[in-house]
C-alpha cells in the first residue's frame, strides 16, 4: 500500500517534537478529519534553522510531516513557500489515491507556520495565537473524498453523498 520511503519516514520520523520558543507555529487539520498536524519553526535571517512537527494521524500523515520537515529545513522562507503538497508526495515516491487528501495537510501546515511568523513580525498576532484551520486544495493536485474517492471541490473535506446520517432517528 505505502512506498518504502513512506514506511521509512513513518517508522523513523525525522524532526519530531516541539520547539520551545518557536518563531512560527502552524496547525492544520482536525480530528474529525482524522489528521492533525503542528509545525514549529525556528527562523534566523529568513532561513529555517530548525523545524519540528507533531502529528495525530495515519501513516501517510506522519510520513508527510516528516518528509516535509526534511524538505523545508535549511531553506529560506521564500524557497519554503514554494514547497507544494505535490513536492512532498513526490519525495515520498507517491501516496495512495485516497491518502492524497492527507498529504495536502503537509505543505498547508508549513505555509501556515510561515504566515504565523510573518504575522507576528508584522505585529498582527500574539505569539501564542493559533492559526486558523484551513484546508484548501491546489488546483493542479486534485483532492479526493477519503470516504468514496469522489473528487472534492475547494474547502470540502468530504463529498456530500457520503454525509453521515441517513435521516433523523425517530
Amino acid at each position: 500500500m505505502y512506498s518504502k520511503t513512506v514506511m521509512d519516514h513513518f517508522k523513523k520520523p525525522r524532526n519530531v517534537g516541539e520547539i520551545e520558543k518557536a518563531d512560527g507555529i502552524g496547525q492544520i487539520g482536525n480530528p474529525v478529519c482524522g489528521d492533525m498536524m503542528t509545525i514549529y519553526l525556528d527562523i534566523e535571517d529568513d532561513v529555517i534553522k530548525d523545524i519540528k512537527f507533531q502529528t495525530f494521524g495515519c501513516g501517510a500523515a506522519i510520513a508527510v510531516s516528516s518528509m516535509l520537515t526534511e524538505l523545508a529545513k535549511g531553506k529560506t522562507l521564500e524557497e519554503a513557500k514554494k514547497i507544494t503538497n505535490k513536492d512532498v508526495a513526490k519525495a515520498l515516491d507517491g501516496l495512495p489515491k485516497n491518502k492524497l487528501h492527507c498529504s495536502n495537510l503537509g505543505a498547508d501546515a508549513l505555509h501556515a507556520a510561515i504566515k504565523n511568523y510573518e504575522d507576528r513580525k508584522a505585529g498582527k498576532v500574539m505569539p501564542d495565537d493559533n492559526q486558523e484551520d484551513k484546508h484548501e486544495h491546489d488546483h493542479d493536485e486534485k483532492c479526493y473524498c477519503p470516504y468514496c474517492d469522489a473528487e472534492l471541490g475547494d474547502g470540502q473535506t468530504f463529498c456530500k453523498s457520503c454525509s453521515l446520517s441517513e435521516e433523523e432517528p425517530a
Partner: protein, 395 residues
C-alpha cells in the same frame, strides 16, 4: 519473525475440513447442477446436501429456505432491496439502526434514491438498539425492519428475538444481517421468528466470497440476480460449487465445535481485558460488556490515530484493524463509534482485535507488549497527547 493474526473479523484461515472439501471438489470436476444428464445429477446432490447443512446451522425448517449467494453483501442486498421492491405497493418505509454495516446502509441509501424512506434509530452507549424504539419507529407504511445481530466494529449483539417479535406483531418483515455471528454463536431462525437472515462463510472459517440468505417460506422477494432457474428460481447464475462445498464443510465443523470455541474465546477475552491495564493507560473498551461477540474487542487508544497503530503493529508482526475491512478505504471516524457517543478523536484511535481458534494467551501477552511500545512511540509524536499532558500537569 512470526506473524500473528488478531484480525479474525477480517481474515480467518480455512479449517482443514473446508480446504480439503474444496480441493476434493476441484478434483471431482462436478458438472453443472442444472444440466439434464448424469454429470448434473451428481452436482445437484452435492449442492442440495450443502443446502441442508446450512438449514441445520441456523435451524431453518426447510432447506429450500436457503439461497446460496456470493458473499454476505449479496445476501444483504438481495434481502433488503428484494423485499422493498416486492412490497413497494404496500408501503415504502424501512426502519434500520445507526450502526449497521455498509452493506445495509448503502442498500438503503440506494432505495432512498428510488423513492423509499428510511428511519434509522439510535443505539445506547453500548451500541444496543432498544426494541421499543424500533416499535415506535414503525409506521403504517413500514414494510421492513433491518437490524443486524452482531456489530462488526464493536461486537455488540442486538436483542434480535425481541426485535423479531415487535416486527411480527406489526406485520412487518424482519431482516437480520448476521454475517458476524452465524457459525460463531447459535442462531435459531425458527425460534426467534426471523424472516430474512444474511450470513457468510468466511466468519466461520469457510472460504471467502460465499454466502447465503435465509428466506422464510412465504416471504416474497424480487430477485437481485435475474436469469436462469438456479437456487429454486431465487438467484440466477452458475453456482460456485467449490465454494459452497467449502462453506458446508466449515459449517459442519462450526456446529461440532461451537461450544468449545465459545469457551476458548471467552477465556481469551477475559485474559486480554485483565492484562491490558498493565500495558496501557488512557483507553476505552467499546461495545456491550456481556452482550457481545466472545472473540471481539474494540479498543480506543486515546490521543493516537488507529491506522498508524495498525501499521506499527503490522511491522512488529501483529495483524489487527481499525475497523472491519469491508468498510475500510474509509478514513473517516467510524459511524458506529460516533453513534455510541465517542468523540471524533477517540473514534479515530480505535483498534479492533479479534481472536481465532488458534489464538493463545501467550500470543495476547506478546501482542500487549508490542501495543505498549507502539502507542508510546506514537503518543510521543501526537499533538493531542502533548496537549493532554500539559492540561494534566496544569491541573
Amino acid at each position: 519473525m512470526g506473524y500473528y493474526n488478531l484480525d479474525h473479523i477480517n481474515f480467518k484461515h480455512l479449517v482443514p475440513e473446508a480446504s480439503q472439501a474444496m480441493i476434493d471438489a476441484i478434483k471431482a470436476e462436478y458438472g453443472n447442477p442444472s444440466s439434464q444428464h448424469q454429470k448434473g445429477d451428481e452436482a445437484r446432490e452435492v449442492l442440495e446436501k450443502s443446502r441442508e447443512t446450512m438449514a441445520r446451522l441456523i435451524n431453518a425448517k426447510d432447506p429450500r429456505e436457503i439461497v446460496f449467494t456470493s458473499c454476505g453483501t449479496e445476501s444483504v442486498n438481495m434481502a433488503v432491496k428484494g423485499l422493498a421492491w416486492a412490497r413497494q405497493d404496500k408501503g415504502k418505509h424501512i426502519v434500520t439502526c445507526n450502526t449497521e454495516h455498509n452493506a445495509v446502509i448503502r442498500s438503503l441509501r440506494r432505495l432512498k434514491q428510488l423513492g423509499f424512506q428510511v428511519t434509522s434509530v439510535p443505539v445506547d452507549k453500548y451500541g444496543v438498539v432498544n426494541p421499543q424504539t424500533v416499535k415506535r419507529a414503525i409506521r403504517e407504511s413500514t414494510i421492513l425492519v433491518s437490524i443486524m445481530h452482531a456489530n462488526n466494529e464493536i461486537g455488540t449483539l442486538h436483542p434480535i428475538g425481541e426485535i423479531a417479535a415487535v416486527c411480527r406483531e406489526a406485520g412487518v418483515a424482519y431482516h437480520c444481517d448476521a454475517v458476524d455471528s452465524v457459525g460463531t454463536l447459535p442462531i435459531d431462525v425458527e425460534g426467534l421468528g426471523i424472516d430474512l437472515l444474511s450470513f457468510a462463510s468466511n466468519p466461520f472459517y469457510g472460504p471467502k466470497g460465499v454466502g447465503a440468505l435465509y428466506i422464510r417460506r412465504g416471504i416474497g422477494l424480487w430477485n437481485l440476480l435475474d436469469g436462469g432457474a438456479q437456487e429454486n428460481r431465487k438467484r440466477a447464475g452458475t453456482e460456485n460449487l467449490v465454494g459452497i462445498v467449502g462453506m458446508a464443510a466449515a459449517a459442519e465443523v462450526a456446529m461440532r465445535d461451537m461450544e468449545k470455541r465459545i469457551e476458548h474465546y471467552k477465556s481469551l477475552r477475559r485474559h486480554f481485558l485483565a492484562e491490558l491495564p498493565k500495558y496501557l493507560e488512557d483507553y476505552l473498551i467499546n461495545g456491550h460488556p456481556e452482550q457481545c461477540l466472545p472473540n471481539h474487542i474494540s479498543l480506543s487508544v486515546r490521543h493516537v490515530e488507529g491506522e498508524s497503530i495498525v501499521l506499527m503493529l503490522d511491522e512488529q508482526g501483529f495483524a489487527v484493524s481499525t475497523r472491519s475491512a469491508c468498510a475500510s478505504g474509509s478514513l473517516r471516524a467510524s459511524h458506529v463509534l460516533l453513534s455510541t457517543g465517542l468523540s471524533f478523536a477517540d473514534a479515530q484511535g480505535t483498534l479492533v482485535i479479534s481472536f481465532g481458534v488458534d489464538t493463545t494467551t501467550q500470543i495476547i501477552d506478546k501482542f500487549l507488549a508490542a501495543l505498549e511500545e507502539s502507542v508510546k512511540t506514537l503518543r510521543a509524536i501526537s499533538p493531542l497527547y502533548a496537549a493532554a499532558q500539559k492540561e494534566k500537569a496544569g491541573k
